[in-house]
């Protein structure tokens, strides 16, 4: 195994990452946010991001051994049954360098770009428990040190974390606090000499909590404001288990990802030196947000990897099992399921690598909205696909002897962790609304004030829309960036984007800043924007594939057209609903039902057999 590791490191050395780091410029990425204005920032997403031949060769050098390791040495069934990853497997992962994928080489990591990290994520996701263990370690656990740590902190912690000698964990959640910073109870009190903090409190559901040696802990600290007032603020701390006073509960028994270690972690008078503060004292909130926002994009490729594997396994079954002298694969309803899986896998893959490519651009592009979109789309897609795959297999899929039920259980967590999809929808919609609102405020205010010019402009626009104007954002046609064979889909995307812009403007005019309370509206906004980004990614990728003549690009065109057509109708429906008032689009009724049920905390209808006389 160490031989393999050497090989990997040698490969890493043979292909320096120079090409990656040489790019210049520093523009902020805002493709997803621009969608809220009805605009398409084509340069951001066309052409589809590519990596150089050297990088491709390099990543393929990694992929081979990792794939081999996962197919030969990771026994997912046993991990699931024993609820533990065996030490040899962990050792193998460490030897492959998978504990330091994104840690720069100078600290002993593999220094992978986001794109390459996404590529390895595809394989790692074949075992949910391993994927979560690795993600908890590096996507969130040590990410704080990586993005906000000082050079000393990096030098002290990253090498051991990269080699896997130390495992990291991210400690944010508390019994009374999920996303609410105000209810964090863990407290770090500055010692009298001002050289250290005393940490006290409990964290729950900490992935790797029982294995970790290094914790990123968020705790409340008292700080003095500029005006002298004392205030509690969140501070991020690096805590070593060796500091003492760190204990953990027994591993939680979970539905899925059973092999990953999740437990409570308690800190009792743990002495943490001030040098171990990540960022500044009282600046932990930003650190936490940045860590959470940066970790999500990889779920796209991971889900896609899992679905691709599932397609292989279920296709094998569908093409061999016979019923009524016909193969399962000859039945339309079975075929439909494979199409669905292929479409979803294609789109989430496209989104994941588009986002990774955008993140790999020089400067510090902020792709958090795009990453959240990838997470929402891929986690829900994965859940649907696994469920459909199970359906293809019928009763067999339900049996513990086969791996399908494990995939189903494992994939359920995707919709929950790293920010539940509901929370991320709020994030996507509100971030976009804030962006569009800043720009549109002036215009809307003018109109509300009764500025005839602005009102007339809006009226003329509305009139032209209603007369069936052709939207042209320059995706196809002369100087078009999408391939002509995708013209239909591109037109649909353009139309959707344009009308999404007008819808958002209408919503801002209607709700203003009170839109934060309109969660049903925001959900639709988020859904449309996720679809728009997904359509963009698919069209961009398919265009590139046709243009450079990748194998089976005609298949990609089919997938893209299927997805875009379906998404187009869904978007139109959602936007039509968004233009209505709450009484007409069922929102009022939905809220009322929920209110009545929740008031009684029960299903309140009389039993159908009940009678009154």
């Amino acid at each position: 195994m160490s031989g393999l590791s050497l090989l990997l490191r040698a490969a890493r050395a043979a292909f320096p990452a120079g090409a990656r780091q040489l790019r210049t410029g520093g523009f902020r990425s805002a493709y997803a946010k621009e969608l809220f204005l009805g605009k398409m920032w084509k340069e951001e997403v066309f052409p589809y991001p590519e990596i150089s031949n050297e990088e491709l060769e390099e990543i393929n050098q990694f992929v081979g051994p990792v794939e081999k390791f996962f197919s030969e040495e990771v026994d997912s069934k046993k991990i699931d049954q024993d609820a533990k990853i065996p030490p040899e497997t962990l050792k193998g992962l460490k030897n492959l360098g998978l504990f330091g994928m994104q840690i720069p080489e100078e600290y002993g990591g593999l220094g992978l770009s986001n794109t390459m990290y996404a590529r390895l994520g595809e394989i790692i996701s074949l075992d949910g428990s391993v994927a979560v263990t690795l993600a908890a370690h590096q996507a969130i656990g040590l990410k704080g040190i990586l993005i906000a740590g000082t050079d000393e902190q990096k030098a002290k912690y990253l090498p051991k974390l990269a080699s896997g000698e130390h495992i990291a964990a991210f400690c944010l959640t508390e019994p009374g606090s999920g996303s609410d910073a105000a209810s964090i109870q863990t407290r770090a009190t500055m010692s009298e000499d001002g050289k250290s903090f005393l940490l006290n409190g409990s964290k729950i559901w900490i992935s790797n909590g029982g294995l970790a040696d290094v914790f990123t802990v968020f705790a409340r600290t008292e700080i003095v404001d500029n005006d002298g007032a004392k205030k509690d603020k969140i501070t991020a701390l690096i805590v070593e288990r060796a500091f003492g006073g760190v204990t953990n509960g027994k591993p939680e028994d979970k539905l899925g990802i059973r092999g990953s270690n999740t437990c409570e972690v308690h800190f009792e008078n743990t002495k943490v030196p001030v040098e171990n503060v990540i960022g500044e004292v009282g600046g932990g909130f930003k650190v936490a947000m940045n860590i959470l926002n940066s970790g999500r994009f990889s779920m796209g490729s991971a889900s896609a990897g899992m679905i691709k594997k599932l397609i292989e396994m279920t296709a094998e079954y569908a093409c061999t099992r016979k019923q009524f002298n016909k193969k399962l694969s000859d039945f339309g309803l079975i075929q439909e399921k494979f199409t669905l899986m292929a479409v979803k896998a294609y789109v989430m893959e496209s989104m994941a690598y588009l986002t990774a490519g955008m993140m790999d651009r020089p400067g510090v592009p902020d792709c958090s909205v795009e990453a959240a979109m990838v997470k929402v789309f891929s986690s829900e897609g994965a859940w649907i696909c696994v469920s459909e795959a199970l359906q293809v297999l019928g009763g067999l899929g339900y049996m513990k002897d086969y791996p399908y039920e494990r995939y189903l259980r494992d994939s359920r967590i995707l919709l929950i962790f790293e920010g539940t999809n509901e929370i991320l929808r709020m994030y996507i919609a509100l971030t976009g609304m804030q962006y569009a609102g800043k720009i549109l405020t002036g215009k809307i205010k003018e109109m509300k004030k009764g500025n005839v010019g602005v009102a007339l402009e809006i009226f003329v626009n509305k009139f032209r829309d209603s007369m069936g104007r052709k939207v042209d954002l320059g995706l196809v046609g002369k100087d078009g960036v999408a391939h002509p064979s995708l013209e239909e889909s591109s037109k649909k995307l353009e139309e959707n984007i344009y009308y999404f812009g007008t819808t958002v403007e209408g919503l801002l005019r209607r709700f203003g800043k009170t839109i934060v309370d309109e969660q049903l509206v925001l959900k639709r906004v988020a859904d449309v924007s996720v679809n728009l980004y997904a359509m963009t990614a698919a069209i961009s990728r398919a265009s590139r594939s046709i243009s450079i003549g990748l194998r089976n690009h005609d298949h990609e065109v089919l997938l893209t057209n299927i997805f875009c057509t379906e998404a187009y109708f869904k978007n139109n429906y959602a936007m039509a609903e968004l233009e209505k008032y709450a009484a007409e689009n069922l929102d009022d009724s939905i809220k009322k039902v929920a209110q009545q049920v929740l008031e009684k905390r029960a299903y309140i209808c009389s039993h159908p057999l009940e009678r009154t006389f």
Binding site: L172, I234, K286, L292, L424, K445, F511, G512, K513
Partner: protein
């Protein structure tokens, strides 16, 4: 089950009606005089028992009361009532004076405690002679056929309506047998059956049919009813107890039952201990015919500077809690009504006690201190009114409130 029902349903109409018609005089022969004839049958005859029929001749409105008086030797109960009805039915095959008897029976029902008994109503309806009052042609149906009898039938149904008794199938068969289809009592029955089921569950906050006897249980359901919060927790601070002390003096320990929701606990925890909290009461609560009294622990309305809760911008790790926009909600989406809100202080807890004196209520406050430590640092002011004592004497003795504080504004700092 269904088939059985159906046969039951069809039996009276086939057997009863048809048979009745055969037994009675043929309708054709009676012709147009039938009304007059049958009415004459009902005129009291001098040949009857002189004692019993005296009432009729005297023109007294309550000639049958004594029938009921005679029927109950022991208790006034359902059996006694039924005996009276049966006696009337057996006495005279023609059931002379049945309208008067039924009116008297209806009046007597509450006395015998059967005013909510459907069987008894059916038994009363059964007193009517069958078949005789059924309209036999459209002209009879058009005019008020046997108005007294029909009105009497309606009267029975009205009394059922007033007591909220829903007629059943038997009621319907009886009415059909007595008055026939499309008669006024049947119409009344149909209206009852239309509205009663609709109104049966109209009250979203139903009071149990029989209130618990135990004052602690009664306090529990009353408090849960006022609190209207499923998370609210009822605590019995003291069980009622009567004991004889060594000195031979009787000691009664009143019950104290309190309720507090987690939200109220939180409100109290945030209360500024420098400002007092108030124990106020008693306030009445009516549960059907029972009145109970409760006390509240409340604070003064919050001063404006404490009311505003500023949402920290660093509150939510995942998404912005408010947007930095200078745009307000448009008129069309503003679905809030203008509500003139009266500033009210928070209510921290409520209780019901067997006695309304300050010593008892102080025990409640002591009990609350266990779960609300801040209460031990907060001054508690007792604002107790002697209000319900007068009410008490006039209304109901059932409620557990006897002792009422003597002084108006007693103040005590705990």
């Amino acid at each position: 089950g269904e088939a059985q029902n159906r046969t039951q349903e069809s039996e009276p109409s086939a057997g009863g009606w048809g048979g009745g018609r055969l037994r009675g005089a043929p309708p054709a022969r009676r012709g147009g005089n039938s009304a007059a004839l049958s009415r004459s049958e009902l005129v009291p005859s001098a040949k009857g028992d002189k004692e019993k029929d005296r009432g009729f001749r005297d023109g007294s409105l309550v000639p049958f009361d004594e029938l009921f008086e005679r029927a109950h030797e022991g208790d006034r109960n359902k059996a006694a009532f039924n005996r009276a009805v049966e006696f009337f039915c057996q006495r005279d095959i023609r059931r002379r004076g049945h309208v008067e008897f039924i009116n008297a029976a209806l009046r007597k029902m509450p006395e015998f405690g059967v005013e909510r008994d459907l069987d008894v109503y059916n038994k009363i309806l059964d007193v009517f002679p069958k078949e005789v009052f059924v309209a036999r042609n459209f002209i009879q149906r058009m005019f008020n056929h046997y108005p007294r009898q029909q009105e009497c039938g309606i009267h029975v149904l009205e009394q059922m309506e007033n007591y909220g008794i829903m007629p059943n199938k038997q009621t319907k068969f009886l009415l059909l047998q007595i008055f026939g289809d499309r008669s006024h009592p049947i119409r009344k029955y149909q209206r009852l059956m239309y509205w009663f089921p609709k109104f049966k569950h109209i009250n979203p906050y139903p009071v149990p049919a029989a209130l618990p006897r135990d004052p602690v249980d009664l306090a529990r359901i009353s408090l849960q009813r006022i609190a209207a919060d499923l998370s609210a927790e009822v605590t019995v601070y003291q069980m009622p107890l009567t004991d004889i002390s060594d000195a031979g003096k009787e000691i009664t320990q009143p019950h104290i039952v309190g309720i507090q929701s987690p939200d109220q606990q939180e409100l109290l925890a945030r209360h500024n201990p420098a400002r007092p909290v108030f124990v106020e009461g008693p306030f009445p609560l009516w549960l059907k015919k029972t009145c109970v009294y409760y006390y509240v622990l409340r604070g003064d309305p919050l001063p404006p500077e404490e009311k505003e809760e500023v949402i920290d911008s660093e509150r939510n790790f995942y998404y912005p809690m408010h947007l930095d926009l200078d745009l307000d909600r448009d008129l069309w989406d503003d679905e809030e009504f203008y509500v003139d809100e009266v500033a009210e202080g928070p209510i921290f807890a409520m209780c019901m006690a067997g006695a309304g004196d300050q010593a008892t209520l102080a025990k409640w406050i002591l009990g609350l201190q266990q779960t609300n430590p801040i209460l031990s640092q907060t001054p508690v002011v007792f604002h107790l009114t002697p209000g319900p004592r007068e009410l008490q004497a006039a209304s109901d003795s059932e409620s557990g409130e006897e002792e009422i504080p003597q002084s108006w504004h007693m103040k005590q700092e705990l």
